[in-house]
């Protein structure tokens, strides 16, 4: 199988879907030519003409138009250069995209097939407005699907599934993953939503890690293996829908769990997943297991690289949390 990086994998998925369905249209800032801030759409405008088009610098228009266009028959796959810019178009995402089917669609069977792709993540000294990983806001918003691949293989398979989905999907791509290489089949394939991926099997502690945190969790697992501690690392891949069964199955085995997310800890996804675990255990009449969470500190993301590292999760912080639940 050819080895390609995540950029190329995403590009392949987009190209295949543009070929597959004439209603797939791409727009966003600087997506023509070499393909915008992160080169994901490289070459597609040459092949597909106006179906891959530079938009003005206007996130409200980019994402808002996706809502209108999807209602009227297109299948927009739009790009936000940075996930931090979702804050510019939250009304379009939260008050519209997420609610259209519920508030307007019941009788008309309205479908809103939209994918909003965006770069997330820190560790790159891009300062507080270009480094966030704001998934929790959207997991808090009923009506959206959330996808966060961690390998080129998954990026392609999940993006194709996202584009075929008839619901609005937010698709997150971590800056550190763009250059990471992996094997990607040339033939078409799809990765279903709501199937967590057990990235490493283990027996002592379940670590649920989101996005780039999977890499850090695997690093921690490697480290802890030396001390004889065995981590099971689970990547949920989609946060909505969320495959709680795989997580609960793993906890059944390990009896301990740590959830890791790059976003601000407070009111974040780890608290949610841990509460669901607690509730499911309680519901089943079981005693709660030791639980811990790792996330970003309660600060904006600082620019200076060492400070940024101090604020964001790291393999060391995961190890620390694992040791807590091991006691």
């Amino acid at each position: 199988m050819p080895e390609i990086n995540m950029r190329q994998a995403l590009n392949q998925a987009l190209r295949e879907e543009l070929l597959h369905d004439p209603t797939v249209h791409i727009w966003g800032e600087n997506v023509e030519g070499v393909g915008g801030g992160f080169l994901i759409t490289m070459g597609l405008s040459n092949e597909f003409g106006e179906r891959v088009k530079d938009s003005p610098l206007a996130e409200t228009a980019i994402v808002g138009a996706a809502v209108g266009a999807a209602y009227c028959g297109l299948r927009p796959v739009v790009e936000l250069m940075f996930a931090d810019f979702t804050y510019i178009c939250m009304d379009e995402i939260v008050n519209k995209m997420a609610k259209v089917r519920y508030s307007f669609g019941a009788y008309n069977d309205v479908k809103l097939p939209i994918v909003v792709r965006m770069k997330v993540g820190g560790y790159f000294a891009q300062s507080s407005e270009h480094s966030q990983t704001p998934l929790a806001h959207f997991m808090h918003t009923p009506g959206l699907k959330l996808v966060f691949p961690t390998t080129p293989y998954e990026a392609k398979g999940l993006l194709k599934t996202a584009i075929r989905d008839d619901n609005p999907v937010l698709f997150f791509e971590h800056i550190i993953h763009f250059a990471a290489k992996g094997e990607v089949p040339e033939e078409e394939y799809f990765i279903p939503f709501e199937e967590a991926n057990i990235r490493r099997e283990g027996s002592d502690v379940t670590v649920v890690a989101i996005g780039y945190m999977v890499d850090l969790a695997l690093e921690a697992a490697e480290e802890l293996a030396k001390e004889g501690v065995s981590l099971e690392v689970i990547d949920p891949r989609t946060l909505e829908p969320l495959d709680m069964d795989t997580i609960m199955g793993s906890i059944e085995k390990t009896g301990r769990v740590v959830v890791v997310d790059e976003d601000v800890t407070r009111c974040g996804i780890p608290a949610e997943i841990l509460m669901q675990i607690f509730e499911q255990l309680t519901e089943a009449g079981k005693t709660p297991v030791p639980m811990a969470r790792v996330g970003a500190a309660n600060t904006p993301i600082p620019y200076s690289p060492e400070l940024e590292k101090a604020v964001l999760p790291s393999a060391d912080k995961i190890i620390e949390a694992v040791k807590k639940v091991l006691v």
Binding site: A61, G64, A65, V67, Y71, F104
Partner: protein, 320 residues
């Protein structure tokens, strides 16, 4: 476009139909039969009928919270609309949407609860219309208040630079709730904004249904012929308070309201039709009588129609 006698009668009927449904809902609201809000559009009927009567079914129309005449003229089902306002299962969203209606079958776009969210929706509809190549066009209505929202700029600019088939129609009724447009918009006229997007801008007497129809349909024609967007400002007035149930406060004078009511768009058009000899008093009264019957029946049906089962609250979030 050249209007036939039948066309004119249709315009009259659509204005009157909107008015009668509006009055009916206003009455129901004041009887406590409407669970949520109601924004009467009485006074705006010339815009409503003028923009919507002669659009194709597959054209797209974005209406405001005051857009019942407009919606009905475009094909909105009165029963489903009323049922939706009453929170009944027979409504467009099984009673889950409420004040804001959409009807994809009849080309009615998503009416958002955040004023000014019409602009991106319409821009997207225009883009879809253009790319799908079926000669559809979009008419987007918005108030003078909405014209103050940031989204206007990014979306009118998009429409301009991508040459989208959109007719932007402002219903300038002078107020955004209690704020006069002069205290909220820097431009002399809202039509002036067209200049920023390299599109034609025109001002229309919004109480004159023939003028609205003519100017809007010219712009529709332009859009359909690939000549891009236009902006039309209709000067109109809301006869009632912003939201039903609100008491008048000194933000506008009684005299102003009285002056404007003299220019009731339905009365004006009625005089004109009679004057032109297009119809007789009897013809017009017959239209009214027929509509009264329709409205009464719709109201009775809606009031009798069932509430949604509680489980409905948990459906329609995702397509399976």
């Amino acid at each position: 476009m050249k209007l036939t006698h039948e066309d004119k009668i249709l315009l009259y009927r659509n204005m009157l139909r909107g008015r009668k449904y509006d009055e009916a809902l206003t009455k129901m609201f004041n009887k406590g039969q409407v669970p949520g809000m109601w924004h009467s559009g009485i006074g705006h009927e010339a815009v409503g009928a003028g923009v919507a009567t002669f659009l194709r079914q597959d054209d797209w129309l974005e209406v405001t919270h005051r857009g019942i005449t407009h919606g009905l003229a475009k094909g909105l089902d009165a029963r489903m609309w009323l049922a939706e306002h009453l929170g009944r299962v027979g409504g467009y969203a099984k009673g889950k949407g409420g004040h804001h209606c959409a009807d994809r079958e009849h080309g009615i776009l998503i009416g958002g609860g955040t004023i000014g969210s019409c602009f991106p929706i319409a821009a997207g509809a225009g883009l879809a219309a253009k790319r799908l190549g079926k000669d559809q066009i979009v008419v987007c209505l918005f108030g003078d208040g909405a014209a103050q929202r940031a989204t206007l700029h990014s979306c009118m600019n998009l429409a301009g630079v991508w040459n989208l088939p959109i007719v932007w129609v402002c219903e300038n009724n002078l107020y955004s709730i209690t704020t006069h447009v002069k205290n909220a918009i820097a431009a002399e006229n809202i039509a002036d904004l067209a200049h920023s997007y390299n599109m034609p801008g025109e001002i229309v007497d919004g109480q004159d249904v023939l003028m609205v129809t003519e100017v809007v349909m010219d712009a529709v024609e332009r859009a359909r012929n690939g000549k891009g967007p236009s902006l039309i400002e209709c000067k109109t007035y809301r006869f009632r308070e912003h939201g039903e149930g609100e008491i008048p406060t000194p933000y506008r004078t009684r005299e102003e309201v009285k002056e404007w009511k003299k220019r009731d768009p339905i009365k004006l058009f009625r005089y004109l039709l009679l004057d032109e000899g297009v119809v007789t008093e009897e013809d017009l009264n017959a239209i009214g009588t027929k509509l009264d019957k329709e409205v009464a029946e719709t109201v009775d049906w809606a009031i009798e129609s069932p509430m949604p089962a509680l489980e409905e609250a948990f459906t329609d979030i995702y397509v399976e």
